[in-house]
Amino acid sequence: MKITRRALFRFGLSAGATGVAGRFSRFGLWNALAQDAYDYKALVCLFLFGGNDSNNLIVPLETREYNAYKLLRRGLALEASTLLPVNALTGGAAYGFHPKLSELRQSYVNGRLAVVANVGTLVAPVTRPQYLAGAAVPSNLFSHLDQQTEWQTASPQATAATGWAGRLADRIAGWNAPPAFPAFISVSGSQILGQGERTQPGTVIPGRGLGPAGFNTSAASQARFRGLQQILTFDTGMTLVHAANSILEQGLQDDARLSKALQGLPALQTVFPATGIGQQLQQVARLIQARQQLGMRRQLFFASLGGFDTHIGQLATQESLFTQLSTAVSAFENATLELGVDQQVTLFTESDFNRTFQPNGNAGTDHAWGGHHIVLGGAVRGGDIYGRFPTFELGGPDDAASEGRWIPSVSVDQYAATLAAWFGVDADGLTAVFPNLSNFETRNLGFLP
């Protein structure tokens, strides 16, 4: 936080220093920034679509907790001997990572990965009695689409037009060089997470060529391209037509800038797995590689892995998904080391929700609420567990119902605000980006400096 505040003051961007900011034109400000050592930070959201059963991502190995786990999870319980053991830095308690997460476990041991326990959508802290008595809770709990959206908007009750990363990008818009390349890039389709009041998220399709195909330097081709650009600017007053044209126009601009920025950059040495998530994270690494060419000092990225809606046959499905997750994230970590930005890039997970602790009759689990998440990067105060594991008791103090649907003990706001504070947003900015943050006592969970 100390460095951040100083940086903010120097760049004249904090809320209280508008007088300083006023002395710089946008270019002047950029030039002032450029004289410093290259200040850069990136946040990478890895969304686990479908609702990851994080009850099996990391399991307490202390006898009492593990026995409760084994008893209640029945056929879905992972054997203690197969779990990959670690200890929490704070308190020393033993935990085990899922057997297919060996790379992530290694990052944890190396002090570069932290686990945040029982995170979920919340309006304010809530206990089981309060929940059962009808306290304010997020809308449409247990529904995929709603909970995905609420994780991305940090707006658990109202329909939000913006995502928290988009609002974050709004706050730091002046830190990147004009003309602005999108501060938020999704390599997994349109996502509300990156939509700001002013920030328009960009997208890149991993492995695809950039820009429109089929144009050349002939007069006819050039005329056709000019015609295309001209057509996209026509305002017919029709909302949907205008939107379609604007989106294409943005795509053409972003791709043109990116193509130019990537010219001459060497290929990454790090080998990524040939999986969807592997390719996505490789694309993110490639975009980070072009950060200086693009004039970016702060970037946000979105990647995703789907298939976590394990209502049936969970063990086999999750093994496959966790293998993909662990190998791809590990390659990404290596790429940040290769690029020398491992201290400046932090990857974190989000997911619709955790799943019921109690299995259903199909060796699967159903939709639940609070779950465990991972944060990875050189800056992370890793090798530790943040937050509190729920008490493994059906209908117990942390259960919203009777099947082990954990009431979160950490809110999405607290989790994301900790990331945002590291990213460089001051206290006022955090309050603006996360309107419900003030409902929680702890504003920073401490897993990042």
Partner: protein, 530 residues
């Protein structure tokens, strides 16, 4: 429907010329009728209806609507013979041939309205090749959608609920009763998505589709976790159809050639809570509980506005007025003869509503949120049908749509390709299909047009552009023809001018034709159906 006669004649003549000069189109299933000398419906109005009710306004289809009038055309479509949905050849174990047949029927089938409604239903009642890329599973499911597209919504609910592909996709197959001794619950997957996605949604609705509010102005949840558990338990005790010649067991092996069957011992016979405080009494059979549960859902007042609005969005416009939704919901509630859930009544209400027809004769006023973005499938078929492309059975149109993020019958999740509530960022309007239009996918759409017009289209899609090339000797005539074929004459002056300017940069007739078609199809005015 009151087009200027002069305009009508000019467009009609031009289309007739175009239709005669496009020998590439498939003529086996849908012969081109001759233009009617005194049409009941203008070209523009017929084109609009066809964009809403079919896979695209092929010239022949325009004449059909003009000759019959809209009401009669719809009734004719109701009785048109169904395009076949074939079993895959024995050696094909993925959905390739199913996708090819989908596009073949979409391009050439005479039962366009049924195909289009069935396609809309496939995006509501989702199963996906992403879970099982298996024609044996998907083909029977598609037949159910097609069969009930013009039937009753309750019959659709009943038959899909027992369809084994759905049973497998959302885990109702082999969903067994809770067992406290073994510490396991009933599977909630089908129960939750049936309510949330296929019938009523998460909030209580007014007949006009708006949310009902409680005394403090907060929306009212349509159900809670107790109801989900109630339905999950009501749906226990069903398994795959038995192997022919063998006795049915508790957990029959996966097969798709018939409805799922009950296995009573796996059914939860306790009392269950349903919607609106209704209780299913204890001690009932799986069949009786299933019928009771589905009937409880079907009669919930949300179904009309919830499904009606989605059908409007799929066929006509992303942002219907509450009054429009209300009129469609009312047709769902009662077809005029006291029948609830009559799909024909709903479809008539969607397509013949004054709001669906209000721009038949003039472009919408400014700053309007009318229409909807062509989703990838409809972009591909809408363009190719207009251009009279002869699409054979072994086509690769699925590849085009896949590149644009819509792999037919492979929706990524049960939430389909796009959500009905998706808001276009910053536009203050709903635009479900825009969820697939990221900036980079918008460029992919350009690249589809490039492939279509400037490279040799793969997958056997012969496109005969000789009519356009012939017209291109005179750029004005070319742009006029493109305007008529792609936009039913609705091109703005500035768009016409921009295309003309690009066309004039070359004297090569073929290049001129391709340039004009590329630019017109790339424009938002074509990408959005208005």
């Amino acid at each position: 429907m009151q087009a200027q006669p002069a305009v009508r004649t000019a467009l009609g003549a031009s289309l007739a010329l175009w239709a005669m000069m496009s020998p590439g189109r498939a003529q086996d299933l849908e012969p081109i009728p001759a233009p009617d000398p005194s049409p009941k419906v203008s070209v523009r109005a017929a084109t609009r209806l066809l964009d809403q009710a079919t896979f695209g306004a092929a010239p022949g289809a325009v004449y059909g609507v003009q000759r019959l009038g809209m009401e009669s055309w719809i009734e004719t479509q109701f009785s048109a013979p169904e395009s076949p949905i074939s079993d895959a050849p024995a050696d094909v174990t993925n959905l390739t041939t199913v996708q090819q047949e989908f596009f073949y029927n979409a391009m050439n089938g005479g039962d366009q309205l049924r195909q289009r409604v069935a396609f809309a239903l496939s995006k509501i009642w989702v199963v996906s090749g992403a879970r099982f890329n298996d024609p044996a599973a998907i083909v029977p499911y598609l037949r159910v959608l097609q069969k009930h597209a013009f039937g009753n919504y309750y019959d659709l609910m009943s038959e899909i609920t027992l369809n084994p592909a759905m049973g497998r996709y959302l885990d109702m197959a082999n969903n067994v009763k809770p067992n406290p001794a073994l510490g396991r619950s009933a599977n909630e997957n089908y129960a939750r998505e049936l309510l949330q996605l296929f019938t009523i949604g998460t909030y209580e609705l007014n007949p006009d589709g708006s949310r009902r509010m409680d005394g403090q102005g907060r929306p009212i949840q349509a159900y809670g976790q107790p109801e989900i558990v109630g339905f999950a338990r009501a749906f226990t005790g069903w398994t795959y159809p038995p192997v022919p010649g063998q006795a049915s067991g508790a957990r029959n092996p996966v097969r798709y050639d018939g409805p799922m069957v009950p296995f009573a011992a796996n059914h939860d016979t306790g009392e269950k809570m349903l919607l609106g405080g209704t209780l299913l009494p204890a001690g009932q059979s799986p069949e009786k509980d299933l019928a009771g549960a589905l009937s409880n859902v079907f009669h919930h007042p949300n179904v009309g506005p919830f499904i009606g609005k989605q059908l409007i969005q799929q066929l006509v416009t992303s942002n219907p007025s509450p009054e429009y939704v209300s009129r469609v919901a009312s047709a769902f509630a009662d077809n005029g003869q006291g029948v609830r859930g009559d799909m024909r009544a709903v479809i008539r209400a969607v397509l013949l509503d004054p709001e669906a027809r209000m721009y038949d004769d003039s472009p919408p006023p400014e700053a309007h949120r009318y229409g909807h973005l062509r989703e990838p499938v409809l972009l591909v078929t809408g363009l190719l049908r207009r251009l009279g492309a002869g699409v054979p059975r072994d086509n690769n149109l699925a590849g085009y749509a896949r590149n644009l993020d819509q792999n037919v019958y492979f929706p990524p999740t049960v939430f389909s390709y796009f959500a009905p509530g998706y808001e276009i960022p910053g536009a203050g309007a709903l635009g479900p299909e825009f969820q697939l239009l990221s900036p980079s996918r918008a460029i992919a759409r350009l690249n589809f047009l490039n492939q279509l017009f400037f490279s040799t289209p793969g997958g056997g899609t012969p496109l005969d552009l000789s009519a356009f090339t012939a017209a291109a000797r005179e750029p004005e005539a070319l742009v006029r023809l493109v305007n008529q074929v792609l936009m039913a004459g609705a091109m703005t002056a500035e768009l016409r001018q921009a295309i003309l300017q690009a066309v004039n940069a070359t004297t090569d007739s073929q290049l001129r034709a391709k340039t004009a078609l590329y630019l017109a199809a790339a424009s938002g005015a074509f990408q959005v159906v208005q």
